[in-house]
């Protein structure tokens, strides 16, 4: 691999890592901070992508679709928390797995009934549709760089929310000792409602902005679900910075695994996970 190729592959790795972070960030909140094992997280990603497809078909514009889609996703999250998840906080993880696995099946079937099983595409917004020339044969789409920038901004925003604001403090306190927080007169149920809705919104948002580059197809959430869990676990459960670093590590492992050891590329990500967990059993940044 010459130096230019190496630089471009590094860009690929960072860009893929940031996209993975965007999906995993919602899971960091729901799994990491609230302690709910949410297997349906990938479904929220898929729902976001299909929302983008349906809303762009109606409005013809991804930005309008985002404006409409984000509140819809938040509403869905709040509704699910109120109807289902709220009853599971004090139950064990196995029951959470059962519920959220069931939700995967329900969402897939609803998607199939409402929008069919065809593959769909969403056009890249016109102002970001240009490409930057990297070599005489290769260009880089501007939209991918925009996604990366959005991911970095979101990472910073999440960090500030959780570590620098009053509500962030309540969330962290609730994770640490739920009963004590309630005893101090804080309505923990309302905080969890907000956090869960935020987590669902982040996953759906990831699906929406990734739709133009990833296409929209049945089962698209299942792939990102597993990688998201890998990222949350090796990043250190509950740590936003950890998730960001872990997502980049996975981005590098996947990209360079495919290039350097193509026959074992499928293993690369999990070998890295095993290595990190041997080195730091509680993840890179334990919270």
């Amino acid at each position: 691999m010459d130096f230019v190729s190496f630089l471009i592959q590094t860009l690929n790795a960072v860009q893929y890592g940031l996209l993975l972070f965007l999906v995993a960030s919602g899971l960091t909140l729901i799994f990491g901070i609230m302690g709910v094992i949410n297997l349906a997280h990938g479904s929220f990603y898929m729902i976001g992508a299909y929302l983008a497809f349906a809303l762009v078909a109606q409005t013809g514009n991804l930005f309008t679709a985002l404006l409409l889609g984000i509140p819809l996703a938040a509403l869905l999250g709040a509704l699910l928390e109120w109807a289902l998840f709220r009853h599971l906080y004090k139950r064990n993880h196995l029951e959470q797995v059962l519920l959220t696995y069931g939700l995967i099946l329900v969402f897939e079937e609803l998607r199939s009934l409402a929008l069919g099983d065809d593959v769909h595409g969403v056009a890249v917004p016109a102002i970001f549709s240009a490409s930057i020339k990297l070599s005489d044969t290769l260009s880089y789409p501007v939209y991918r760089l925009v996604i990366s920038a959005v991911c970095v901004l979101l990472a910073i925003g999440l960090y500030i929310l959780i570590h620098r604001t009053r509500i962030g403090m309540m969330i962290r306190a609730g994770n640490h000792d739920r009963d004590m927080v309630e005893a101090l007169g804080i309505d923990i149920n309302r905080i969890y409602l907000v956090v869960f809705a935020l987590g669902v919104t982040l996953a759906a948002f990831a699906g929406m902005i990734a739709a133009p580059v990833s296409s929209v197809f049945p089962g698209m959430g299942n792939q990102v679900l597993i990688l998201s869990f890998v990222i949350v676990v090796i990043g250190g459960i509950g740590s936003v910075w950890g998730a960001l670093v872990a997502a980049l590590v996975i981005g590098f492992a996947d990209t360079f695994g495919k290039v350097l050891v193509p026959d074992y590329a499928g293993l690369a990500v999990y070998l890295v996970m095993a290595a990190v967990l041997l080195w730091r059993p509680e993840g890179i940044f334990k919270s």
């Binding site: 010459d2 230019v4 190729s5 471009i8 592959q9 690929n12 790795a13 860009q15 893929y16 897939e108 079937e109 199939s112 069919g116 099983d117 065809d118 593959v119 769909h120 595409g121 056009a123 890249v124 490409s131 020339k133 070599s135 005489d136 044969t137 290769l138 260009s139 880089y140 789409p141 939209y143 991918r144 580059v213 990833s214 296409s215 929209v216 197809f217 049945p218 089962g219 698209m220 792939q223 996947d254 990209t255 360079f256 495919k258 290039v259 193509p262 026959d263 590329a265 499928g266």
Partner: protein, 402 residues
Amino acid sequence: MNSYSPKITSPGSIWTRTATVATALACAALLPLGNAQAQSGKIKIGLMLPYTGTYAALGNAVTNGFKLYVEESGGKLGGRDIEYFVVDDESDPAKATENTNKLVKRDQVDVLVGTVHSGVAMGMAKVARENNTLFVVPNAGADELTGPLCAPNIFRTSFSNWQSAYAMGPVVYEKRARKVVTLTWKYAAGKQMTDAFAEAFEKAGGKVVKEMTLPFPNVEFQPFLTEIAALKPDAVFVFFAGGGAAKFVKDYGAAGLRASIPLYAPGFLTDGTLEAMGDAGQGLLTTLHYADGLTNAKDQAFRAGYAKAYKAAPDVYAVQGYDAAQLLATGLSAVKGDVSKRAELVKAMEAARIDSPRGAFTLSKAHNPVQDIYLRKAEGKENKVVSVVSKALADPARGCKM
């Protein structure tokens, strides 16, 4: 525990019981034979296809095509009424044996039809071979089904992976490409496709300089696009289908590679995905045994009939289902619906010349279609026929002992 008093069983009673069970099993084994001999009833057709999940649309198209032919024939095949037994195989190879047994053992179907997923189809083939059930494959392209797994009772009306990729070899060579890179998912179908392409392309005089794979169903292609740009081959040959196909073609276009390095693939790349690809898919050249814009009368009649029955345009999967029913009809007519005359039935099916919407085809010794392969060009939402690139292409049926 009250009603059950444990006691030591004597060896004698074990033998008695074993004998009783064995007798019961032997009687049960005779049952299907008894049913098959009664020819007055309906012919039982087991449709085992995906009706949920990623391949649901394909399973429905196959079913629609099959039923359309039966309807056109007055609801009968070989003069007998049809009764369908339907199982959703969920494209899950782990459930293939159990699901097939439901149809073969419980429902005792006369004919088994399925499926889309190659792994499931191979499970079905094993059960069909063990029970000698007549089995027609209306899609799954695994070379094995008409290769090592071939049998007198197993037929295919679709294609072998080898066929759809092999035909592309000479095409790419004629487009003056000498060095080619291949890329596909690391699984059986991908390997069979890229190997068949390499076989034909290198026979023509070209060279596959690099075979790249990524884990199935991973769709992060960027590292490979970077490698392709660095290698600068004359052309790229890929096998992808469904969502992965749409994403790959868009990524390939967005990376600016379409302008300098032409992309070729078996037709699965652009079937049902052109809308999702948008502009990036336009002009793509692919090979397959069916195309839009064929001029034969059968295709036009089929398309009109399908549109009338289902208010939708047919695709290659509907054609394959339609032809599965045609092939069965030929066999059943020859024996006047008497499925117990298996040898004659199979002989008639082997000799059949199917008037398919794709153009007429016959069957090879291994029971795979000997068919024309078309070069198609993506225009709008259609894969328009350009030419016939391989006339009456027969799968080599490697490993078939029949």
